[in-house]
């Protein structure tokens, strides 16, 4: 009798509807990036997008200051930088001083 081997990739876990892991599971942009500006912090499915694309897409929703500079994991980056899943992208506007 001829037997066929089921490909491994068909056996990988694929959470169904209602599973928390599935919230962004089908999103073509890949994993989540934590995006922060001021009071707003959200994990978003923007992995592999550039800073400029994320800035444009979430400008209103996150009230992103056009003067702000982007930081990834605390490093200042320019708007052409590609943000990877798992990274923290912060928009920061250094201005003024205390005292």
């Amino acid at each position: 009798m001829l037997e066929t081997v089921r490909p491994r990739h068909q056996e990988t876990f694929d959470p169904g509807p209602g599973g928390q892991d599935d919230l962004f599971g089908s999103c073509a942009t890949g994993g989540l990036v934590t995006v922060n500006h001021g009071l707003h912090t959200e994990p978003l499915p923007v992995g592999n997008m550039t800073v400029a694309e994320i800035r444009a897409r979430y400008a209103d929703r996150f009230d992103i200051d056009p003067q702000s500079r982007a930081q990834i994991d605390g490093h200042i980056v320019d708007d052409s930088t590609v943000v990877r899943p798992g990274q923290i992208l912060m928009f920061v506007r250094h201005a003024g001083e205390k005292g």
Binding site: G38, H40, G74, V92, R93, H94, G96, E97, K98, G99
Partner: protein, 276 residues
Amino acid sequence: MEPIKIEGNVVSAVSPEGQTASMTVEELLETANQRRMESRGIILPDGVKLLDSKGPTTIWVHETPPRVYSFKWIASGSPARHGPGTEYCTVRIALPYLVVLAAFEGDMLSGQNECFFRQRPLETEDDELLYPALLNCSKFTPQEGRPLSWICTAKMGPESLGPCRNPKQRMRAGFKALMHCLLETGFNYSSEDNEGSSWFTESTRVDPRVSTVESWSKASGENALFVLDVPWLKTGLSLRQVIDRMYAYRGIGGNGSLSASDLVRMIFNRRPKKPK
């Protein structure tokens, strides 16, 4: 309106069916003053873990998880310690859980807001707060009657709140301005010169990795989570105790709720409305 009568110290009400129920004024006030959970229609910013109100003051307790920040920090060799002539550089340092207590008078941000560290997320009011090793988080001497870790907002004028006529947006705008002031404006030595010291200066001996901002930055680059193991200076006070302390130095005594004598005073002080 259903009939309510107060005779002596007894409040009684009559239902539409004619049944009567009564309680003492104190019992009525205790029932009416019970703590209630609500945000008065305000959509709270992400990270607000607790709201606490007493009298006219409301305190928001906000927590930011550990992360690496890029701060505008006074440069070594800056010709001035703060104010005009101060030179800044950018430093990249990790912080542990950052807890901010924002005090509002009505819906306006007050000038008495405080900042602390923690090594674990807040779970109860009994969790202890740690002093934040940050410049411009002021240490007063003596501490009695003053904030424990005052966020220096001396240069944060009303204009920083922006145009905000909606009272519900005003609290969010005030909080946003406070967080901008804390995290995005330049850190300098104004606390050392004006209030006595900052908790950065006070904390330089707790761990060699945070003894200077340069060593802190280096350690952050090697392992950003080291900040969860640093023995930050202890306040010896829980979140609840710090909140109660804030009410006390703001002059809000008691439990902030109405008493029977408050009711009597309100009745006697009531001014009749002018006829239209």
